[in-house]
C-alpha cells in the first residue's frame, strides 16, 4: 500500500472518530426531536388539587368589580388586552352614565363615547385596534373584553376536569364545582342584563367548535339557563359559612349567593324591558325574541318574587343572611358597614380587587376621584342623586311638609346621603368639607374635582392616596337589601298592590338607617316608585341604578337635564352659604334619546365572524 493511501485511510478514520465521537450525535430526524420541556399543561394543573383550585381562583378574579383600581392609561396601552377591571368605562365608573354621577375625565369612557353619542356597534369593536387607549374598553360592559367568556371557559374546564384530580375528596370537589357553576351564572347574569339573549356556552370549546354556529338563545331561554345553573350551584354549595369557615371562605360563592343571583336574573327577566306586550324597539333582535319575550306574562314576576322570598325566609330562619345591623352603631355606621364590610351577612356576593399603585399618574390620579388639587373628576355626584334622598322623617324633599330648607339643604337628611356623597359642611379629613367655590375641595368653579358641588364618599370613605393604595376594597356585587327590595317590587307587580310582606321588606331596609315606614295604602304605581327610589338611595354607585332605569324603561330619567350645585360662602364670618343650582353639560342622548340604549350593541367584528350573532334593536 502506498503511503498516500495509508494517509487517506487514517484521515477517514480520524474524521469518523471525530464525528461519531461527539457524544452520540443524533442524525436525521432524531436530530430534530426536542428534549422534553418543563412546560405546564392541562394535565399538570389537574394532577393536584392545589393547582386545580388556583385555576378556579383565576375565574374569581374576573368577577365584576365596579371601581377603577388602576388609573394609569399608560399601563393599559402596554397590555395585550386591557385589564378588565381597570378598563371598564375607560377609567370612569358606570354611575357616570346614569343620573348619579357626571364625569369630567376628558379621555374617560363617559366623555369619549357616551356623552358624545359616539357609542355604537363599531365603538364596541374598537378595543381590538391598536390605538392609544383602547376605546372599546370604554363601553359599560364590552362583549369581548370583560373576560366573562374567559371566566366561563375556566369554570367549564374546571368542571370537566376536576374529577380526575387524584387528591381532594369528592365532597370538596363537588363544592368547588358548585362555585364554578355559580361564577358562570354571575357572568351570564351580567351579560344578560346588558345584552339580552346570549350565545350559550355549555362546555370549554375547542378551536374547531368555535367555527360553527353559536346563535343567541332567546331572552327567556337565557334566563332559564341561568336559573338552571343557579339551581345546580345551590345544590352543590353550603347555604352559608359560619364561624371559622366564614373567616376562611368568605368571598366564595354560597347557596345564599346563588339564590340571590337567581332573584336578580329573574327580576330583570320579569321587568317591562322584556316582559311587555310590545318590544321596546322593533328590530330583528326583538322579532326573534332575543331582546323581548313576545308578550307580557305575570308569572315571570311570581318567579322573581318566589326566588327572593325563598332566600329571605331561609336567611331569616338561619340568621346567616339578613339586613345588617350592629348594636351600638349609629344608623350611618350601620349603613357603611353593610355595604363596606365583608362577611357581615349582608353581602351575598362580594368581589375584591387590589388598588394598585399607579406608576406615573400622580398626584391627580384617577383612582381616588378627588385626590390632588384638581382631581380627575370621575366621582362628581349630581344634585339629582342628592335630591333623591328623603328627609329623616321619611318625606321626600319635594314634599312641602318635609321640613326641607333649601338654604340648609343637608340638614336632617337620610343618613345614607352623607355616607354616599361628600356634602358641604360634613366631617371630612378631620375638618369639615369645603365644597363651596374657593373652598379646599373646590378651589375654582372650573376645577374638576367637585365640579358638581359634590364628590363621592361611598367606598372611598375618608381614604386618601396614601391610605388607599395597595389596599383591598370589597365591592358589594350583591347585597341582601337588594333581595328585600326586589321581593317588594316583584310582589307588588304580581299581586297588583303592596301587601304587608312587601311593606315589611321595604321598611326593614328603611328602618336600618332610621327612616320611618313607608306610608300605608299606596297604590301599585306609588309603591313601585317608592321602591325604585329606595333602591336609588340604598344602592347608589353600586351598579344598580342603570339596570333599574333600563328595565323600567325610565326614559325621563335618561333624558332629564342633570343638575349641580354651586355653593357660595359669604365673604366673612359668621359664614353663610348660598346655594345655586346649575345645569350640567348636556349628554347626547338627553336630546337624541332612543330606546336602543337600554341594551348594548354587539361589536361588529363579532357579528361579522358569522357564527349567528344577531344585533340588538337599534344597533343594526
Amino acid at each position: 500500500m502506498k503511503p498516500n493511501n495509508i494517509v487517506i485511510i487514517l484521515l477517514i478514520a480520524a474524521s469518523l472518530s471525530l464525528v461519531c465521537g461527539c457524544e452520540k450525535l443524533p442524525l436525521g430526524g432524531n436530530f430534530l426531536t426536542k428534549a422534553p420541556g418543563v412546560d405546564v399543561t392541562i394535565d399538570t394543573i389537574f394532577n393536584k388539587m392545589e393547582y386545580a383550585e388556583r385555576y378556579l381562583t383565576g375565574a374569581y378574579d374576573y368577577m365584576r368589580y365596579g371601581l377603577v383600581v388602576n388609573g394609569n392609561a399608560a399601563d393599559e396601552t402596554s397590555r395585550a388586552q386591557p385589564d378588565p377591571w381597570t378598563a371598564i368605562m375607560g377609567r370612569d365608573i358606570m354611575a357616570s352614565i346614569t343620573d348619579e354621577i357626571q364625569s369630567y375625565l376628558p379621555d374617560g369612557g363617559a366623555w369619549t363615547i357616551w356623552y358624545s353619542g359616539l357609542y355604537d356597534a363599531n365603538t364596541e369593536s374598537r378595543g381590538q385596534q391598536n390605538g392609544n387607549y383602547p376605546p372599546g374598553a370604554s363601553s359599560r360592559y364590552n362583549f369581548t373584553q370583560e373576560y366573562s367568556w374567559a371566566a366561563i371557559r375556566i369554570c367549564y374546564n374546571f368542571i370537566q376536569n376536576v374529577d380526575r384530580v387524584p387528591d381532594g375528596d369528592a365532597a370538596y370537589k363537588k363544592k368547588l364545582k358548585g362555585e364554578a357553576y355559580g361564577i358562570i351564572a354571575c357572568m351570564y347574569t351580567d351579560m344578560f342584563r346588558n345584552f339580552g339573549g346570549l350565545p350559550w356556552i355549555n362546555h370549554a370549546y375547542t378551536i374547531t367548535e368555535i367555527t360553527g354556529q353559536m346563535p343567541r338563545l332567546t331572552a327567556q331561554a337565557t334566563c332559564d339557563s341561568i336559573v338552571k345553573l343557579c339551581d345546580k350551584a345551590i345544590a352543590d354549595l353550603p347555604f352559608a359559612y359560619q364561624g371559622a369557615d366564614l373567616v376562611n371562605y368568605d368571598g366564595r360563592l354560597t347557596g345564599g349567593s346563588m339564590m340571590g343571583l337567581k332573584t336578580r336574573a329573574l327580576l330583570f327577566n320579569a321587568s317591562p324591558l322584556f316582559n311587555a306586550s310590545a318590544p321596546y324597539l322593533d328590530g330583528i333582535g326583538a322579532q326573534q325574541k332575543l331582546a323581548w319575550h313576545g308578550g307580557y306574562d305575570a308569572e315571570r314576576w311570581k318567579k322573581a318574587m318566589d326566588a327572593a322570598h325563598d332566600l329571605i325566609v331561609k336567611g331569616e330562619a338561619t340568621g346567616d343572611y339578613k339586613i345588617y345591623k350592629k348594636a351600638g352603631n349609629s344608623f350611618r355606621q350601620d349603613f357603611q358597614e353593610a355595604y363596606y364590610l365583608r362577611g357581615n351577612g349582608e353581602q351575598l356576593i362580594s368581589t375584591r380587587k387590589f388598588f394598585r399603585s399607579p406608576t406615573s399618574a400622580t398626584p391627580a390620579n384617577y383612582i381616588f376621584y378627588r385626590d390632588g388639587n384638581s382631581g380627575a373628576g370621575t366621582g362628581d355626584i349630581t344634585l339629582d342623586l342628592v335630591d333623591a334622598y328623603p328627609m329623616l322623617n321619611g318625606k321626600p324633599i319635594s314634599d312641602p311638609t318635609s321640613g326641607y330648607n333649601p338654604n340648609d339643604p343637608f340638614l336632617n337628611r337620610d343618613w345614607r346621603l352623607k355616607e354616599t356623597v361628600t356634602v358641604n359642611g360634613d366631617a371630612w379629613q378631620g375638618r369639615t368639607a369645603e365644597m363651596w367655590i374657593g373652598g379646599r375641595e373646590r378651589l375654582t368653579e372650573a376645577g374638576k374635582k367637585a365640579a358638581t358641588g359634590f364628590f363621592l364618599r361611598k367606598f372611598l370613605l375618608e381614604a386618601n392616596s396614601a391610605t388607599a393604595l395597595n389596599s383591598i376594597i370589597c365591592w358589594p356585587y350583591l347585597r341582601m337589601a337588594e333581595i328585600y327590595l326586589s321581593y317588594a317590587e316583584a310582589s307588588n307587580e304580581y299581586k297588583g298592590a303592596p301587601d304587608a310582606e312587601a311593606y315589611r321588606c321595604v321598611n326593614i331596609v328603611r328602618n336600618r338607617v332610621g327612616l320611618p315606614d313607608l306610608a300605608a295604602g299606596m297604590t301599585k304605581v306609588q309603591f313601585r316608585e317608592a321602591v325604585i327610589t329606595e333602591r336609588q338611595c340604598e344602592f347608589a354607585i353600586e351598579e344598580v341604578r342603570w339596570y333599574d332605569m333600563a328595565r323600567w324603561k325610565r326614559d325621563t330619567d335618561f333624558t332629564k337635564k342633570l343638575r349641580g350645585l354651586n355653593i357660595y360662602r359669604s365673604a366673612s364670618a359668621p359664614y353663610t352659604y348660598n346655594y345655586k343650582q346649575f345645569l350640567l353639560p348636556t349628554r347626547y342622548w338627553q336630546v337624541n334619546w332612543s330606546p336602543k340604549y337600554y341594551l348594548l350593541a354587539f361589536p361588529n367584528d363579532e357579528i361579522l365572524k358569522g357564527y349567528g350573532l344577531i344585533q340588538n334593536p337599534g344597533w343594526e
Binding site: 374569581y60 392609544n132 368555535i210 373567616v247 368571598g251 387590589f354
Partner: protein, 1000 residues
Amino acid sequence: MKINIQRYIYLFLLVLLVIYPGFAQKTMLTGTVNDKTGKPVVNALVTIKEQPGVKVFTDTEGKFSISGVKGQLVEVTTRDQRHKSQRIETDQIVMVMNQNDALIQVGYGMEQRQEDVTSAIGIVRAGELTKSSARNPANALYGQIPGLTVLENGGASWTANPNLFIRGIGTTQNTAILILVDGFERPVSTLSVDEIESIEVLKDAGALAMYGLRGANGVLSVTTKRGTGKGLSVNANYDRGMTKAFRLPEFLDAYGYAKAVNQARANDGLTDLYSQPELDRYQSGSSPYLYPNVDWKKASFRDFGHSDKLNLTLQQQANAFRYLLYLNFDNEAGILGPVKETGPKTTQFNNRTVNMRLNAEIDITKTTKFSVKLAGNLGEGTRPATGAEGDIFSDIYNTPAAAYPVKTYHGIWGGTQTYANNNPVAEIGGIGYTSEGRRMFMTDFVLGQNLDKVLKGLSVEAGLSYDNSFSYRDVRSNGYQYEQLTPILDPITMAVTDTIENTYGTNSATTFASSLTSYYHRATFFGNLKYSSSWGDNELKSILFVQQEEYKGDGQFTTYRRLLSAGNLHYGKAGKYFVDATLAWGGTDLLPAAERYGFFPAVSVGWKLGKEEWLIGSKILNDLKLRASWGMTGNDQVTQNISDNRWQGSTGYYFGANNTGATGNAEGRLASFPLSFETSYKSNIGVDAGIFNLLDLSLDVFYDKREGILTTTDGLYSQVLGVALPYSSTGVTSNKGFDLGLNLHQSFKDFSYHAGAQLSYAKNKIIEQNEVYRPYDYLKRTGKSIGQAFGLQAIGFFNDAADIVASPKQTYMAVSPGDIKYKDQNNDGFIDDYDQVQIGYATNTPEIYYSGTLGMEYKGFGFDCVFQGISNYTVYLNTPSIFIPLRSNTNISTFSNNSWTPATASMATLPRLSMTENLNNYRSNSVWLVDGSYLKLRTAEIYYNFPEQMLSRFKLKTAQLYVRGINLFSIDNIKVVDPESIGSSYPTMSSYNLGIKIGF
C-alpha cells in the same frame, strides 16, 4: 454537542505529516493571460484539469508555461476569483479574462462562473468594499448590490448593525435575511472589511431554493479571502479617521426655551412661568447659577472622534499549501467631551477590536484536500455607566438650557428634582463606566476527496464548523450628589432676595456589577457529493449535500436545530443554454413533528444569446443573456413552542374575612393551528447585456408570493371562546419589483473611468392576514404594504373657539386654538381612530433604493465616489425634545420654530406648543409622518497609486495613499437630524480618513 479538542489536534498533526510527492512532466506549452483591455493578468493560477496537482503562475507580463498535451483543458484562476478554461489546441494559448468570468459562490461550496449563472445573484468584491473605512462590513454595502437595501441606524459604529433587506420585505413576520460567512450562518459584523473576498446576494428561487427553510428572505453570502498567488505577498493598510456627528439637532438657548415655555403655558391657558426680569437674566447670562444658559451639547460633546485601523494580510500559495493570515486592529473613540479616564478605562464611547484569521488549505495528497479556517474576534467597548447606550443622548437632548448649571457655585453637580439625577455632564464623567467585552471564535474544517478513481468527476467533502460567542458587561458606577438652586423673588420687583439650596442624592461609593449579556454556540456538520462531467459541448455539474445545524443561546427557547438535504443539477450546452434544477428538503425543530419538513424545488434557465452566431460581432450588443427562474423556498423563523397550549400562573384573588391572597393559574394561548413555515414562490426574469463594449446592464424583474405567514386569528374566531386565540399560518403577501444595474467603464492609456447606477424597486402587499374587523375600507391594512403608515390627516390648525365649535368634534381631548384640525374621513361628525387613513408609504423599508458611482484614474491619481438614496419611505417624527417639544419637561429644538401662535397662525406648520401630553396633537398624523427619502454622498475618495519604478527602490509592489470622506452630505426633508437616525441615540457619523496601503 461536545467537541473533543484533542481529536482536532490529532487530525491536524496528521495533516502536517503529509508530504506531497512530485509529478511527471509532459510537453511544454506557453500562453498569455490578458484582461479585456489587453493588460496582462499577473500571478494567476494556471492548472490542467486532467493533471491535478500541476500548478504554475503567470508572470508580470501575464505569460506562463506549463506541461500538458493537446485536448486537455487549461484552467486559469485569477487572484480576484475569475475563472476560465480552454481546450489546448496549439502550443500557444491566449486567454482573455472578462468581468463575467468571475466565479460566483452559489452556496454550499459550489462555484459557477458568472457567465453560466441562471439565477439572480448580485455580487460585490473586495475592490469596491475596501473603498469604505467602515468597522462593520455591512456599513460598506450602501448601494453596492442591486436588490440589497441597507438602512443605517443610530448607535456607535461598532454596536449599530444596519438593517439589511433583500428585495424589500415579503412577510409580516420575521424579515431577517440569512447571512452566511463561508457557507455557515454567522453575523457579518464580527468580520472586518479587508478579510472579505466577495459578498453575494442571492435573490431568486434559482439561488435560494437550496437553502430550504431559510431562503425566503434572501441570503447574503460572505466569502473570506484565501491564499492566492505565487510567493509570499504581504499587504498592509493603515487608516486614520476623524469622525464628526453627521448632524446634531439644535436646541433653543435658555432665553428661547423660557419664552417657549411661557408661550406653551399661554396656549394651555396658564400664566407665564418666567417673568420679564427672569427672561432678561436668561438672555444676559448675568446670573449663570440661578438663571443658567447651558449648551448641553457643547458641554457634553467634543467636535471630533477618531478611529485607527490597521490591517495586515500575508498570503501564499505554495504547491501543496495555501494560506492567508490576516490581522486587524481597530480603535475608535467617540465624541463625548468631559470624560473621565481611570487608568485604561474611560467613560468615552470607545472600542477596540482585534480580528484574526487563518485560512489554510493543504493538499494532503494529490486528490485529498483539507481546509481549515480559524477566526477570532475580540473586542471591548466602553461608555458611561448609564443604563442603555442611548440614555446619555436622551439626557443631553432632553435637558433644557435653562434647567440648571453644570455645577453650582458650591462645585456640586447641578440638578433639580424634576430632572432628577440626569445631569448629562455628570452622567458622562461622574458616574463611572460600562465596559462590554466580546469574544467570538469561528472554526471550519473541511476535508475533500477527489474520487476520480471511482468515477471520473466525482468528489466528496465533509466538514464541521463550530462557533462560540459570548459577551459580558462590567459596570462600575457610583451615585452623585446634585444641588437644586431655587431663587426667591420679590413679588413686585422680581429681584432675587434669597436662594434656597437643596441637595439631593449622595456621592456614593463605586459599585460593581458584571453580567453575561449574550452567549451562543453554533455547530454545523455537513457532507456533500459532487459530480461533474463534460462530453462534446455538454457540461454537467451536480451536487448532493446534507447539513445539520444546532444553535444554542442563553435563556429559554433559544435552541434551534435544523436539517437540510438538497441536490442541484447544472447543465450547459455549447456555452449557450443552461438549465439548473434544485430540490431541497429541510426540517426544523421550531415546528412540531408533523409540520417541520418541507420540499423546495426550483428550476432556472439561461440563454446566452451573445454566443449565438447572429449576435457575435454585433457592434451594438456585444453580450446578451436571458435568465428565468421559478421555485419555492421557505422561512421557518417562527416563535418557538406556539404549537403547545401552555399553562402558567396568573393574577390571584382574595378570600376570607381577612382577604388572604390566593394565587392563580391560567390557561395560555391556544395551540397555533394550522402551523407551518412560510413558503415563498418566487419568479424572476433577468437580462444581462453588454452594449457598445462599454456598458454592462443587468435587469431582473421579480414577483414573489409568500404563503403560510403566521397571523393572529382575532379576525376569524369568536372571542366567546374565552381564551387567547391561537395563531394561524394562513397569512399571504406578495412582493414585486425590479433590480437594475448599469455599469460603464472605459480605459485608455493613462486614463480610465467608470460610472454606475443601481435602482431597486420592491413593492409588497398584504393579501391575507385574518385582519380584524374595520368598518371602513380605508382603514383596512390588508391590500396595503406591510408596515404602511396610518394616521389622521391634518387639514390645518384651529384658529379660534368658533372654528372648534364649527368643526367635527375631536374626541381625543378638549382642543384649543392651535391644535391640529383633522379631516373627518367618514363624515360622522367626530374625529376618532376611524378617521385614520394611510399616509405616505411604509415605515419599515423604502420601496425605492438607488445609488450611483463615479470613478476615474489618471496616471495613478484617482477619484471615486458613491451616492446612495432611498425614496417612497415614511418616517414618524416622534422623538421627544427634537420633534415633540416640552412635553413632560423635555426640551425644544429649532424644529419647533414654526409652531402655531396666535400671531403666526397663517404661516405655522406645526401645532401650538403645549406643556402637556396633548393627546390630540401628539399622535400618528400627517404632521409627524413625513417623507423619509434622502440622497447621501456615502463615500468620496481621492487616491494616488505610486508608480512601480519608484516602488521597486523600496522593494514594494504596490503603494497607495488616499483621502476619503464618508457620509459627507445628505439631501433630505428632515434636515434637523440624519433622516436615517431620528431618535436619541449615538449620532450617525461623518468621517474623514487618511490612509496608506502597501504591498510587497
